[in-house]
Symmetry: C2
Subunit: 454 residues, 2 copies
């Protein structure tokens, strides 16, 4: 009997060859590599004690236990959604600009991590050929999602204040002039400590972004939605303790803000500027601030989109794990989440500082090498001289992985749009997984690889 | 400012108006109704103690706890997949026909319930207009999934041995003659205690189904896959203790097989007949046999499909909740799952018998009313005289919900193909949620509604 072929769907063909699979494969094939690539979280700060307590509390009340072990609803456990209302409203109200907008449980959908929300929204809004505007660079897995539905990502310039609003307006004008405005359905921004650059959208631009989206929605008569990915919102550490561009002198691993990160000023979300509630989707997750193994994400969204997302999610899984939603509700209600989030921030601040310190130590004498000093998130974005490529097929990547045994995420993965137009000389360096010593060792190895190539 | 419109994707439009949403809404709006509709599981037999023990065991070992709370892989936790290998191979080897095929961890993908697997496979294989062959009736949520990707479901006759193989062959011949064979990508069967009919595919037909799929795959040069949905495989109770067609005399709620259901003969899966391993996908879940709140499903599949499913799942959520997979691995390894599954079978057997007994009591004097006596699963399929419609807009449904305060799933939802060709005189009655007394009361109410309409 001869072998028959499989005729896959167009969707499957679009989803093939995602960079994330290659990266994970590299990780598996090179187990001794120091990974500055993996987007995993700090294993040391994973909330074992908190998970034990939450599981005990949820399961020791028989009625509640049975409710947690039963099917939930597609939209998500009401108890969790009510806790999220408090959580989100408090975050907005303690921001630098007291928000005039609050959320209700009705507007919240719970998902399997915020990734599922991104995928569901892409599915709900984007037909093949439709356009999503993104920053250059941006979260590369979302670029894969866009590719997976056959949509076009148009990458727009960003600077130290995030996505540039003049560039956004100019692109919308250009698209209108070429008759493509009707294909624009979505503007995607990682508003807090963007993956990969660590840069947040400035307060002024948050307001402006919502205005621009609404203006152009009016102009074309159909809504252009803004998808605000706030996955790193909780991971804020303030300015680095040291570093080339820091005003603070090195003081060991103790940051002068230690223990007070909760009280650092933070900006209101992009969502909070959408007072009419018809334009912005705000996606959050507990994967970064608590535990990715629970895969609890959530989003605030306009009702019309909520129904669409629920219908699509109904077909996909009719609800994420109900048990985990009960755990998160318990963790939020008991205050254990808030306490843990402070610990997580303290741990990551030390690691962020360790990476910046190692960058100073090993890279500062290399001409044309620079890096962002992030105030939050999990990544340092490092730029090499323009002629030094960093991609999977580059001399640098091979030398880093095979000779120096260190891995990073090539920056070009984070650029949407045509492959030949992508910047090829950046690296995304994660301080999430390694210990401070591991981070230093990884940076030392990486600097040797860069030196060899320069 | 005038309101702008949302232009949703084609996908969203296909996913709108699923019956499941209407049913859930009915449940919310009529909280006092006795639901024989809900596909939820028996709340009394939910494994609270087992979940406590599993959570304790996973979280008390610090290394393992951190692994469970961290991101997992898209394909699923290796420890769980290894447990599933043992679990599945043991099931096959103790079947009526010792299987010649075993599975490896490499061929298994873990999903958010088996529902996600059904959706991922539809996404991987079906372009708009492609064809999936199904039984009439079949699992209505899967019909929604097919609709959601724009595929065509062609419904084929089934009898007391499941999907009819002569009808399958005839339809493939017909499709070939009209030049549509190339659009056939999938044959979907619920092999064990089909939702909604409770009927299993006979042993002979399992072998024949694989042969037919392979024959026609060869003939057209592209694989026609068989998707075996085995969601109810663990829920086998043997023949009813009583009932119109039963040979056993009523003996109270004690079944003569009590305590020995584990040892009842069961058939090898459809999957086991696919010795070359290139045709059948076998989907399983712990939602029915353990706890839906954990949302752990899994599938065995050909490697080529596994890669496709992983790529699509990578975009959708890059992995279902890792913590829950660790819990299931622990439950399988400790033997607690097996013990609990026996308890679940004992509880459902009593409820199955209660529903059949109530059907005898309240319906046996109604001319033209008949029902299946299932040996497993969660449903009794009841047929009314052909002229009595049971749909959402029927006199019977309104009378049942509004006057008698009882709800069922209209059988017409379970028929694929053109709406006007669907049989309209059936009801799916679930014995999953209600107590034996609740089941009797629900059946009493339902019989009054039927009497009023007849």
């Amino acid at each position: 009997m001869s072998q028959t072929l499989t005729k896959f769907s167009q969707r499957r063909r679009w989803a093939a060859d995602q960079a994330i699979s290659f990266l994970m494969q590299q990780g598996v094939e090179h187990p001794h590599v120091v990974s500055l690539a993996a987007g995993l979280v700090d294993p040391g700060s994973l909330p074992v004690a908190e998970a034990i307590e939450a599981a005990r509390d949820v399961l020791s009340d028989d009625l509640r236990a049975r409710s947690a072990l039963q099917y939930g609803t597609t939209q998500g456990d009401l108890r969790l959604r009510r806790q999220l209302v408090d959580y989100h409203n408090r975050l907005e109200q303690t921001s630098t600009l007291a928000a005039s907008r609050t959320v209700t449980a009705d507007e919240i959908v719970c998902t399997t991590g915020s990734q599922q929300l991104l995928a569901l929204l892409a599915d709900a809004l984007l037909d093949p050929g439709d356009i999503c505007l993104v920053a250059a660079p941006t979260y590369f897995v979302f670029l894969g999602v866009l590719e997976g539905v056959g949509a076009r990502a148009i990458a727009l310039p960003a600077d130290e204040h995030g996505l540039r609003m003049d560039a956004l307006t100019a692109e919308l004008q250009r698209l209108e002039s070429v008759g493509e405005l009707s294909r624009v359905k979505l503007i995607y921004v990682v508003s807090e400590f963007e993956n990969p650059t660590g840069i947040s959208l400035s307060l002024e631009r948050r307001a402006e972004l919502v205005e621009i989206a609404k203006h152009w929605s009016q102009r074309r008569g159909e809504t252009i939605y803004v998808l605000e990915d706030a996955a790193y919102r909780e991971l804020h550490y303030g300015p680095p303790s040291w570093g080339r561009f820091s005003t603070c002198p090195p003081t060991g691993v103790t940051n002068s803000n230690d223990g007070h990160v909760e009280n650092l000023p933070h900006d209101p979300s992009v969502w909070s500027f959408d007072v009419a509630g018809d334009t912005v989707i705000h996606a959050g997750t507990f994967s970064k601030s608590f535990a990715p193994g629970l895969r609890v994400g959530f989003a605030l969204m306009p009702r019309e989109l909520r129904d669409a997302v629920n219908d699509l999610k109904g077909n996909q899984d009719f609800g994420s794990a109900n048990f985990n939603q009960h755990l998160l509700a318990e963790l939020l209600a008991s205050g254990r989440f808030a306490t843990h989030a402070e610990e997580v921030r303290a741990a990551y601040r030390i690691k962020r500082d360790a990476m910046l310190s190692a960058a100073d130590e090993f890279f500062s004498d290399l001409p044309g090498v620079s890096w962002v000093h992030p105030h939050g998130g999990l990544y340092v974005w490092m730029s090499l001289p323009p002629q030094v490529a960093t991609g999977f097929d580059s001399t640098l990547f091979c030398r880093a992985v095979d000779v120096e045994q260190v891995m990073y995420v090539p920056g070009e993965l984070c650029f949407g749009g045509p492959r030949e137009q992508r910047e090829r000389n950046h690296m995304r360096l994660s301080f999430g997984v390694q210990s401070p010593d591991g981070i230093r060792e990884g940076m030392r190895r990486l600097s040797r690889a860069v030196r060899a190539v320069l």
